[in-house]
Structure formats: structure tokens, C-alpha cells
């Protein structure tokens, strides 16, 4: 879980879902980079998982593998045959089953997606159905595995112009997410899904219950910070939330820099040693003022407005 500060979302990727009871929920379309990252992670997990299973099998049944290698026309024992079938089915399951079962779960995401912090959702706020998950994963074949195969085949020139044509054709699918604003791949189009950010933020402490924010009095020096109308009217919401982030991060150098800037701006003489108390008091009083205005429908987005 990350820090409690909401990430500054890119406006281009912001969407709003309206739930059946009429509540607007903001969602952020997952960036293409994070989706590629999730995919790479999933492939690594699959490949290393398969390798681990094969090493385990080889360790348990070493002789049987030799038998499969040397077997001519199915002349192998029952155990070896069973093992061979197991391997075939395992690979089939890895290819089709992994993504399917993971995305059918309550988290709606494969392991790679979970690590990156994204998930699959139904487009436009409906229910995510098993059919949709199946549809989007069946198309993974032509979007990923086929282009990869053609990429390996085409440059060798073995299949001639057919291979090249195939490569171009499949590259279109691979590049599909880059040509629509919702970053949907072909499977998403078919299934009616999209991939969104799934932030897992923790509730941070309330800032106005601690320190100098309460009364404006510093616990350390006993100094009382009180700001007037003019001093508080300089900044807007954007600056307030930047200050909030800094107070939560609590890095001394950053705090003293901000302290100096604010003092210069409002024409105070910057002291030293009591920066945090000053900033807490300033934050609380600025927020009280801006929120008070908000209740009357007056909003000030930033210092320029």
C-alpha cells in the first residue's frame, strides 16, 4: 500500500462510472506502460512457474523423461505416458487458463496486474461477467502469441512474403491499444471491458487534530501563529494540497524551504527551528478559510485565480 496521497491523475485518462444507484465513481484508465509491465510480469511468472514445475518433475521422475526422449512411436510405459499428457495439458493450461482463472477472481486481475495495481472492469459501469473475461482472454492468442510466432518466423525468410504479410497483419493487433483513447486491446473491445487503475490507499491521519493545527500554538516555543485575511488570500486549493503532501511526507529540508517561501510571500520574517508548527498552523487556517468559502460556492483553484 502506498502513501495516502491521491496520485495526481492525468486528466486524459480520467473517466467517470455511474453506478446503478447514481453515484459517480472516478476511475483512471491504466496507462499503457503499466499494462505492458503487468504483461511482462505475468510472462515471467508463467515461464518461471513452468520451469520450476519441470525441474520438480525432472527431480521426481528423472528416468521417465529419458524414456520420453528415447521413445519411438509411443513405445513407453504407462507412467511416462501419464507424465507426457500432464506436460501437454500443463502447457495448454498455462497458455489459456492462467489469465482466465486469475481474472475471474474477486480482484479481477492477474498477479502481474495486482503488482502493478490495475484491474479489469466492465466498460461503463456494468457488472463484470465470466463471459466477458473469457472473451477478452481468448483473443489474447491473436494479439500476443501469434505476433510473437510471426516475429520469430518472418525475418528468417523461410515463409517468404506470406510471413511478412502475417507479421504486419498481427502487428496491427499488437498496436491496437495505442490507437484508441481508452487503451483497449482487441480483446477488450470484444468483451466490453477496460483496464483501470485499482488504487489501494490507506486512510491517513487527520491533520487538524495534531500539533499547531489545533490552536495555532507551537508546542515547542509556545508561539501563537495567527494569520490575517490578506495573508490567507494569497494561496488556493492547489497550494493547500501541495502543503498537505509536504506535511505528511515530513521532510525537514523541504519544510524549511516552503516555510521560507511562504514567509517571503506574506511578508513575515522567517525564523528558524519552528517550521513545522508554523506550517501546520498556516495549513489549518488556510484550509478553514478555503473550506468556508467552498460552503458558499466560492472556490479558488490556485494562487493565480
Amino acid at each position: 500500500m502506498s502513501a495516502a496521497i491521491a496520485p495526481a491523475p492525468t486528466d486524459k485518462r480520467q473517466r467517470t462510472l455511474v453506478t446503478p444507484e447514481g453515484i459517480a465513481i472516478p476511475v483512471t484508465i491504466a496507462s499503457r506502460g503499466s499494462r505492458i509491465g503487468a504483461l511482462v510480469l505475468d510472462f515471467l511468472i508463467l515461464i518461471f512457474g513452468l520451469i520450476a514445475i519441470f525441474i520438480f518433475l525432472a527431480f521426481v521422475a528423472e528416468g521417465l523423461f529419458d524414456e520420453i526422449d528415447s521413445a519411438v512411436d509411443g513405445a513407453m510405459s504407462g507412467a511416462a505416458e501419464f507424465l507426457f499428457i500432464l506436460v501437454i495439458l500443463l502447457i495448454f493450461m498455462a497458455r489459456y487458463g492462467y489469465f482466465l482463472t486469475m481474472e475471474l477472481g474477486p480482484r479481477g486481475a492477474t498477479l502481474g496486474k495486482r503488482i502493478v495495481g490495475i484491474r479489469v472492469a466492465a466498460r461503463g459501469g456494468g457488472r463484470l461477467t465470466p463471459e466477458a473475461i473469457i472473451a477478452r482472454n481468448l483473443l489474447r492468442d491473436i494479439e500476443l502469441f501469434m505476433p510473437l510466432i510471426f516475429l520469430l518466423i518472418a525475418p528468417s525468410g523461410e515463409s517468404g512474403s506470406f510471413g511478412l504479410a502475417g507479421m504486419v497483419w498481427f502487428m496491427v493487433f499488437m498496436a491496437f491499444p495505442f490507437f484508441n483513447k481508452d487503451a483497449m486491446r482487441a480483446g477488450d473491445v470484444i468483451a466490453g471491458t477496460w483496464v483501470v487503475d485499482a488504487p489501494r490507499t490507506r486512510l491517513a491521519e487527520a491533520l487538524s487534530t495534531q500539533g499547531a493545527a489545533v490552536q495555532g500554538t507551537s508546542e515547542m516555543t509556545g508561539a501563537r501563529y495567527e494569520f490575517g485575511e490578506e495573508e490567507l488570500s494569497i494561496y488556493g486549493e492547489h497550494e493547500l494540497q501541495t502543503l498537505e503532501r509536504m506535511l505528511r511526507d515530513a521532510q525537514p529540508e523541504a519544510l524549511s524551504a516552503v516555510h521560507a517561501t511562504i514567509c517571503r510571500k506574506i511578508g513575515w520574517d522567517p525564523g528558524a527551528g519552528d517550521e513545522r508548527a508554523f506550517l501546520e498552523a498556516f495549513y489549518a487556517q488556510l484550509r478553514a478559510r478555503l473550506e468556508g468559502d467552498m460552503r458558499f460556492g466560492k472556490r479558488k483553484a490556485d494562487k493565480f485565480s
Binding site: A4, I5, A6, L17, T19, P20, E21, I23, A24, I25, P26, V27, G74, A75, E81, I85, I88, L89, F92, P106, A121, R123, G126, R127, L128, T129, P130, E131, I134, A135, L138, L139, D141, M146, V189, I190, A191, G192, A198, P199, R200, T201, L203, A204, E205, A206, S208, T209, A213, V214, E237, L240, Q241, E244, R245, A284, R287, L290, E291, M294
Partner: protein, 362 residues
């Protein structure tokens, strides 16, 4: 920030009372502190649901879930208008989103879905794409006829249509005995299950490809069907030249009724998507694509099952059962079974996802 104690990692659902509400200097923080307990409780429930579904949540929490979800959602809309605390807003947005995914998440587990699928969902989906099945069937028959005619005119075509590896010693000019031998049976079952497994893996892959290619307006799906059926037509010609058409049909029908039907369905499913994207009617293209995509996905799960059946039939009965009549009986039985299951079996109710469920819960 308060350091978490080790005990708090193991106890669940114990929600600490918020710090003194009156002590907060800001009205928006008081608002937050008053409701914080409910939010945290909702978060606990959501986390448990994300980990293991509904089973981990006790009845009391489950009953509270809809109320808590609505409380959090209305808190969010109030907070958006009254609070400038970015951390709280961010938390609430993520909480409401997560809770929404759980409240409106899949209502059924995979097994519940699968049993509904077998008991009606599958056959309904197949019936819904009847027009595409008809088109695909027409294309298949046309492909087979074309394959036959091409090879009948010039037997060189045989080598173009059939890959060398598959043809083996079955080529134009092969003796009747060679061809008959290739239809023969195996002495024992050894090796056949391996054969079945690799057949399944291969055929299911081809079917999924035929389906997935439907995305490009269905044309590649049809081309794939034509190509495969032309191969069949060419082989049919080969055996009929040797006067073995009945024997070959029997040999093929054992698994063919299932496998060819499966290939037909996957081509039709691909075509269904392509057709609805080319002619979306009054809906938007995206909407049309997703409706038909979901329907076709149901058909495709069925096709994978049919491929399992076909592979088992191909590996065991076909290689072990002798005699055209017995083979026809097996193949015919399966053909009749599929037709009955798809077109006559239509129980009521079933797979339609009714949103009422969710509305009642929330």
C-alpha cells in the same frame, strides 16, 4: 502517525475509535472523524472479500455491506463539496471504487457459472448464432466441394492443399491397400492417450484461432474454414478414387461429427463477432462487438469441451474399433447427441445476468 502493534496484524475487524472528534479544528475533519469507523469497517470487509470471496465474510458484515457502501459513497460526494483534504478524498475514492467492484462483482463462482452453462447457457448461445452457423456450414460445404473438384481436375492440387507431413504415404496413386491400412486399428492402447492429449491441445488451439480471427470482420475465420474443408475434400476424393469412401467416412465420423461440428461452431462464433461489427444496426460498434463477443465466448467454452471429447474419440475408439458399421454408430450417436443438445434442449431461465440481484443487494 501511530505505530501499529503486532497484535493489530492478527486481530481483524477491530476498529480503533477515532481521536477526539471535538479536538479537530476543522469542520471537514470532524465530518471525517465521525464517519471514519464505518469507512474502516467497510475496508475490512472489502479486503476479506478480495482475498477469498464471500465465504470469509460473516453474515453480520454481509448484511451491513450495502449500507456501508452507500454511506461511504455519500460521504464521498459530501466530502467533494466540503473538504479540501486530498488524502481523505483519495482514500474515499479508492474505497468506494473497491467496494463497488465487490458489490457489483461476479455474483457467481466459476463452478456455479459452469453448471448453468451446461444446463442451458451453452445451447442457448449456440441457438442465438444460428444464422452464422448456417453461413459457416455453407462455407464449409463449399470448401469441401472446391477441394474435391480441384483435385479431381488436376491431382497436383493435392500436394498444394495437404502438407507433406500430414499426407504421409497417402497421396494420389497410393495403392488401395496402403490407404486401407491407414484406416486400420492399433493393436494396443499404448501411446494413444498421449496422442489424444496432443490432438486436443492442437485442435483447441486451431478453434480458438478461428474464433479470434473473427475480429477482422469474420473474413479470416471463413478463410480458415475454407482451407480446412478443402483439405477434407481433397482427401475424400483420394479415398473415393480407391473405392474406399464408405470406409473413410466411417473412420472420420467417429470423431469427425464432434470435431467438425466444433470447428464449425468456432468459425460461426468468429463470424458472429465480425458480422455484428460490420453491421451493428442501431447500436454503436463497440456495444455490438461486446454483446456478440460475450455470446461467442460462451460458444467457445463449449467448443473447447467438444475438442476434449473429439480428442478422446479420435485417440481411442477410432483407433481401436473396427468395422465401418460400428464406427458409423459411434459417430452418428455423437452427432445426434450434439444436435439434440443444441437445438432441442432449452430449459427456461438460466444464464441471463439479471442486474436486479445487484440492485437488491446494494
Amino acid at each position: 502517525m501511530k505505530a501499529p502493534t503486532i497484535g493489530s496484524w492478527f486481530t481483524r475487524g477491530e476498529i480503533a475509535a477515532p481521536a477526539d472528534i471535538e479536538g479537530a479544528a476543522l469542520r471537514s475533519d470532524r465530518f471525517r472523524l465521525e464517519r471514519e469507523g464505518d469507512w474502516r469497517r467497510l475496508e475490512q470487509i472489502v479486503i476479506r472479500m478480495e482475498k477469498g470471496g464471500l465465504r470469509r465474510v460473516d453474515d453480520e458484515d454481509l448484511l451491513a455491506l450495502p449500507t456501508l457502501y452507500r454511506t461511504a459513497a455519500s460521504s464521498l460526494s459530501v466530502a467533494r463539496e466540503t473538504s479540501l483534504d486530498a488524502a481523505t478524498l483519495g482514500y474515499l475514492e479508492s474505497l468506494v471504487q473497491r467496494a463497488w467492484f465487490q458489490v457489483y462483482g461476479p455474483r457467481k463462482g466459476f463452478f456455479a457459472w459452469f453448471s448453468e452453462f451446461l444446463l442451458g447457457g451453452w445451447s442457448r448461445a449456440v441457438r442465438e448464432i444460428w444464422l452464422d452457423i448456417c453461413i459457416a456450414l455453407f462455407v464449409c460445404v463449399a470448401g469441401a466441394v472446391v477441394g474435391w473438384l480441384l483435385v479431381a481436375q488436376n491431382s497436383d492440387w493435392y500436394y498444394r492443399l495437404i502438407p507433406i507431413g500430414l499426407a504421409g504415404d497417402r497421396g494420389p496413386g497410393a495403392s488401395r491397400e496402403t490407404l486401407l491400412a491407414s484406416l486400420g486399428t492399433e493393436e494396443s492402447t499404448s501411446g494413444l492417450s498421449t496422442f489424444a492429449a496432443s490432438l486436443f491441445s492442437n485442435n483447441a488451439g486451431v478453434c480458438i484461432l478461428a474464433f479470434a480471427l473473427g475480429f477482422a470482420f469474420g473474413i479470416p475465420s471463413l478463410m480458415l474454414l475454407v482451407h480446412n474443408m478443402a483439405m477434407l475434400g481433397a482427401i475424400l476424393w483420394l479415398f473415393s478414387e480407391a473405392g474406399l469412401i464408405v470406409e473413410f467416412s466411417a473412420w472420420l465420423s467417429v470423431h469427425g461429427t464432434t470435431e467438425l461440428f466444433g470447428i464449425l461452431l468456432s468459425g460461426a462464433a468468429g463470424l458472429h463477432i465480425g458480422r455484428s461489427m460490420a453491421f451493428p444496426g442501431e447500436r454503436s460498434v463497440l456495444e455490438a462487438a461486446s454483446t456478440s463477443g460475450r455470446r461467442s465466448a460462451v460458444v467457445m467454452v463449449g467448443v473447447v469441451i467438444m475438442m476434449v471429447v473429439a480428442a478422446i474419440l479420435e485417440a481411442f475408439p477410432r483407433q481401436l474399433v473396427e468395422g465401418a458399421q460400428n464406427r458409423f454408430i459411434i459417430g452418428g450417436t455423437f452427432g445426434v447427441f450434439w444436435l439434440t443438445y443444441f437445438f432441442l434442449y432449452s430449459p427456461r431461465g438460466g444464464m441471463v445476468e439479471d442486474l436486479d440481484d445487484a440492485e437488491r443487494l446494494a
